[in-house]
């Protein structure tokens, strides 16, 4: 019939951009780095397939230490962001007056629209040796000479939490905002203490938001480049820096691709593990925004 | 001349038959309702007429011509949707002009026709208003005007009063009827509310589980229902289960738990020994024993005051509650809960139908 032909045609027309996009820009390129990572250079323009690049990675402690360090710091940053972000989201969604709620939320979003670069630059202006904090501490007489607050792990973590905390707050806010206060009232009414109500009602209700926030935060942290490099300096040993280094500076695509596959595999594993442990799915967490 | 005619219309979704062999004809200029509980297939039927679903079998004719091959945007049947579906991105005038613009009519004509139809529905000069500024009843009229300006052969209305509050619904019932007279167009109205159907319609089809149980005037449906379903669905009624003891001259003697009663035997399958449902309307039952009627003894359980529709709940011997007309206008007879009463009704006011298996 005419109508089913038209609907088949429109399906094909709508499917085409999707397939081109996902196929050419996501799936094939990922297979591409997978392929390159399995390729070993044995001579000029001569290659062999094999796991040599991965073996190199394992044999070189600097490489896998960097990956471990990135992983561990990312998990730390994610946990801190949750710890810092949850009270904020809860305050805006549940405690703030109806009228100031939108304003507070927008206030939270403003830094979201400012480039990573500007944020990192702001921290540099604040924290470097000749920076604002150092200057203020000297004027206050707390320290005698200029102090370098950049280029250490604490600063990197502070900067990273800053960069990602908003991505934690937004999903948390939207789930908490959907929670009816009468759930809390019922909880207290039935004899729950503040702790049990929080643990048995608020946290389970906010779970999709928590998972979504953690996934996004973790991905952004593990994949971040600017903040660790600018705030951590040359010794930040961040894994994305290694990838950039291999690709652009050393032009060693084979090992760069290997690192890329490892990073992607590792982050995907953590995301999968997180979803698995909390019984959530990608579609109802990340896609909610 | 019939404006709309359906012949053996059937619609199946997989194994489920939503509309099953439905045939009817709507005479020109009449108000025709399809009344049925939700899920009975009435919406599917209407969507087939509008062209949003293709029938699995059967034919739909508008002004005598089959429209099965006509796509929905070419059929001259217009539809008022359940939630009206007024376009929120357009103002009132643009909403009404939409169909005319689609036809490519000249601008001046469009403005003229829009103004004229707004005049006819009693809302002159609201062209520039936004849809959200209108009240529920006004939106209703705009939705009708949007269709009527196209001068359709048939206007379909899909429970348009469902979203209104009770008071407004009562008023809109009358208003819809007046509008239909004024436009002199065939209305096909679907609803699950029997009072809407009874008040407005020239003819009503009662639909159940994909089939038409009965087509008739509101009076026919009310006074001589053709099936137990119709008797139970249209109007308030009491219902007993029983078994036919004997039949004579179309009157069946039925043994119920509360005693023996006589009722008109309706339908061919009422015969001796058959399980039946007996239906008697509350307003047919009075206090006291009528001459040559049925009567039962019972105790007043409670008095339900509701103006002209007031009822006495009487608990009869087997423990069942019966609704009985409560003549409040006569002062109510000084009844109170717990009183022993005798109730009765004329034999021909009760009907029995073979119980559904």
């Amino acid at each position: 019939m005419f109508r089913s032909d038209a609907s088949k045609l429109s399906l094909i027309l709508l499917m085409t951009p999707f397939v081109l996009w996902i196929g050419l820009l996501i799936v094939l390129p990922q297979l591409g780095i997978g392929y390159i990572s399995l390729r070993e250079k044995v001579g000029p323009r001569e290659y062999e397939l094999g796991l040599a690049n991965y073996i190199d990675f394992i044999n070189e402690p600097i490489y896998w230490n960097t990956l471990l360090r990135t992983a561990w710091m990312s998990i730390l940053v994610t946990a801190l962001a949750l710890l810092v972000g949850f009270p904020v989201a809860y305050y805006i969604a549940k405690i703030a007056q109806q009228r100031s709620r939108a304003a507070l939320f927008l206030l939270c979003l403003i830094p979201l629209w400012v480039s990573d670069l500007v944020r990192a630059f702001g921290w540099i202006v604040l924290l470097r040796e000749t920076g604002v904090v150092s200057g203020m501490l000297q004027t206050a007489g707390l320290i005698s000479g200029p102090v370098e607050l950049l280029y250490n792990d604490v600063t990197v973590v502070i900067g990273l939490v800053y960069t990602v905390v908003l991505f934690m707050i937004v999903p948390l806010f939207s789930t908490l905002d959907g929670m009816d206060n009468s759930l809390l009232e019922a909880g207290y009414n039935l004899g729950g203490s503040r702790v049990t109500v929080f643990r048995r009602i608020v946290v389970p209700y906010a779970m999709p938001g928590i998972v979504a926030g953690c996934i996004i935060t973790f991905m952004l942290t593990a994949g971040s480049y600017l903040t660790p490099i600018l705030l951590g300096g040359k010794n930040s040993s961040w894994f994305t820096e290694q990838i950039y280094d291999q690709f652009i500076t050393r032009y060693n695509w084979e090992s760069g691709a290997t690192f890329g596959v490892l990073l992607l595999g590792f982050t995907s594993f953590v995301v999968w593990l997180g979803l698995r442990l909390t019984g959530q799915s990608l579609a109802n967490t990340v896609a909610k925004e | 001349m019939d404006d709309l005619q359906c012949d053996g219309l059937t619609k199946r979704f997989g194994n489920f038959t939503a509309v099953n062999d439905v045939s009817f004809a709507v005479p020109s200029g009449s108000f025709f309702s399809i009344l049925g509980p939700s899920g009975c297939g009435k919406t599917t039927l209407m969507r087939m007429i509008a062209g949003f679903e293709n029938p699995s079998k059967g034919d739909i004719k508008i002004k005598g011509n089959s429209v099965l091959a006509t796509p929905p945007n070419k059929r001259n049947v217009k539809m008022v949707f359940q939630h009206l579906a007024l376009f929120p991105m357009m103002n009132v005038g643009e909403n009404i002009a939409y169909g005319l613009r689609c036809r490519g009519e000249p601008k001046a004509d469009i403005a003229h026709k829009v103004a004229a139809v707004l005049e006819r529905i009693g809302l002159p000069g609201v062209e520039e208003k936004e849809v959200a500024q209108l009240s529920g009843g006004q939106k209703q009229r705009i939705a009708i005007a949007r269709c009527m300006v196209l001068e359709p052969d048939v206007l379909l209305l899909d429970e348009p009063l469902g979203a209104l509050d009770l008071k407004l619904r009562e008023r809109m019932k009358i208003e819809l009827k007046l509008l239909q007279h004024q436009f002199d167009t065939t209305f096909l109205y679907i609803t699950h509310d029997q009072s809407e159907a009874l008040v407005m319609s020239d003819n009503v089809a009662v639909m159940n589980a994909g089939r038409f149980e009965q087509i008739g005037t509101p009076q026919e449906l009310y006074h001589s229902p053709a099936s137990g379903f119709v008797a139970g669905f249209v109007g308030d009624t009491n219902r007993w289960k029983g078994r036919v003891v004997s039949i004579a001259d179309g009157a069946a003697k039925v043994q119920t738990a509360a005693g023996e009663i006589v009722a008109a035997a309706s339908g061919e399958d009422v015969a001796e020994g058959v399980e039946v449902d007996v239906f008697v309307r509350p307003e047919a039952i009075e206090l006291g024993v009528p001459e040559n009627g049925n009567s039962l003894r019972g105790k007043v359980d409670s008095l339900l005051f509701n103006g002209a529709n007031s009822r006495i709940l009487v608990r009869i011997a087997d423990g069942e509650l019966i609704e009985v007309n409560y003549p409040v206008m006569d002062g109510g007879g000084g009844l109170s809960a717990g009183d022993d009463v005798e109730i009765g009704w004329a034999r021909e006011r009760g009907r029995c139908f073979a119980a559904a298996r």
Partner: protein, 287 residues
């Protein structure tokens, strides 16, 4: 009484203090980046030497303002160019995807839907290198078989656009699909019933309904594209967008107040755009 709030005044006070500290934390680096654009000094640091707009409008070294700095301006131009193209493309593709997933049924729909979200959880650096690698595999293939140098597939703006498009489309798809999900299909049926053709229904009913979502998807895509660094860094050629230019400057020259000026410009720009998108959304809700 708000049951969600702490009941003791002390705890409420502590909570309020925490919120205040949090907003200070949020505002501190942005303020620092902003304020020193107006300091009449060669370095973005204390002491405060007085207010100046030189870092925006001065046309001579050493205090060359950002609007006279050729390379920064070129970067801005490239960013605008890339942003507009990539946002338009991703809104178009996102609209198609929204219709595909909200209106159509097809095999493996759930799996493909997950695939649609996946670009959001791939680190930007990896999106960048994978597209770089794939493009050069294709380019090398083309060169070897047809001895034709397909320059487009070497690092440059074309790849930057593809790279940003690859994950922005997920965002636009989600935004537009969320709006389409709320659309009452009866509106389309009503329009058809009133005699409109399918194309007309799309143009007069469905797309106007989607317009605010498409607009905010465009704004979001534009902002994200403008600020993107990680993916762009891997794919950039000789024409660098503003963030890359700024980063180069930061690494090579060190921090100078002109970077603060650029920061102010970026903050104002994104703030205004975001505000515009909020206002448009609200306008649509009013009637």
């Amino acid at each position: 009484m708000n049951v969600a709030a702490p009941q003791s005044p002390f705890l409420r006070w502590v909570y309020g203090g925490y919120m205040f500290a949090f907003f200070i934390y949020l505002a501190a680096p942005l303020t620092a980046a902003g304020v020193f654009a107006f300091n009449d000094s060669l370095f973005p640091s204390l002491p405060w030497n007085g207010f100046t707009l030189d870092w925006f409008f001065n046309d001579t070294e050493p205090k060359l303002g950002m609007f006279y700095d050729r390379r920064l301006l070129r970067g801005l131009e490239v960013s605008l160019y890339v942003g507009l193209i990539v946002s338009a493309l991703s809104v178009a593709a996102g609209t198609c995807n929204a219709f595909l997933f909200e209106r159509k049924e097809f095999p493996f729909k759930a799996a493909l839907h997950v695939l649609m979200i996946v670009p959001l959880v791939i680190p930007g650096v990896i999106l960048g290198i994978s597209i770089l690698v794939f493009a050069s595999i294709v380019a090398n293939g083309v060169e070897e078989t047809m001895s034709w140098d397909w320059d487009m597939l070497r690092p440059g703006l074309f790849l930057v656009i593809l790279g940003q498009f690859s994950f922005l489309t997920t965002i636009t798809s989600l935004v537009i699909a969320a709006r389409l999900r709320k659309f009452d299909i009866a509106l389309e049926e009503a329009a058809l019933n009133l005699g409109a053709t399918r194309v007309r229904v799309l143009a007069t009913v469905t797309l106007p309904y989607l317009a605010p979502a498409m607009f905010s998807a465009f704004v979001v895509a534009f902002l994200v594209s403008f600020e993107n660094f990680n993916t762009t860094l891997m794919l950039v050629g000789s024409d660098a967008p503003l963030t890359i230019t700024m980063y180069d400057r930061m690494v090579k020259v060190g921090s100078t107040p002109v970077l603060n000026a650029v920061s102010v410009f970026l903050m104002l720009g994104s703030g205004l755009l975001a505000l515009l998108s909020v206002v448009v959304q609200r306008e649509r809700k009013q009637p």
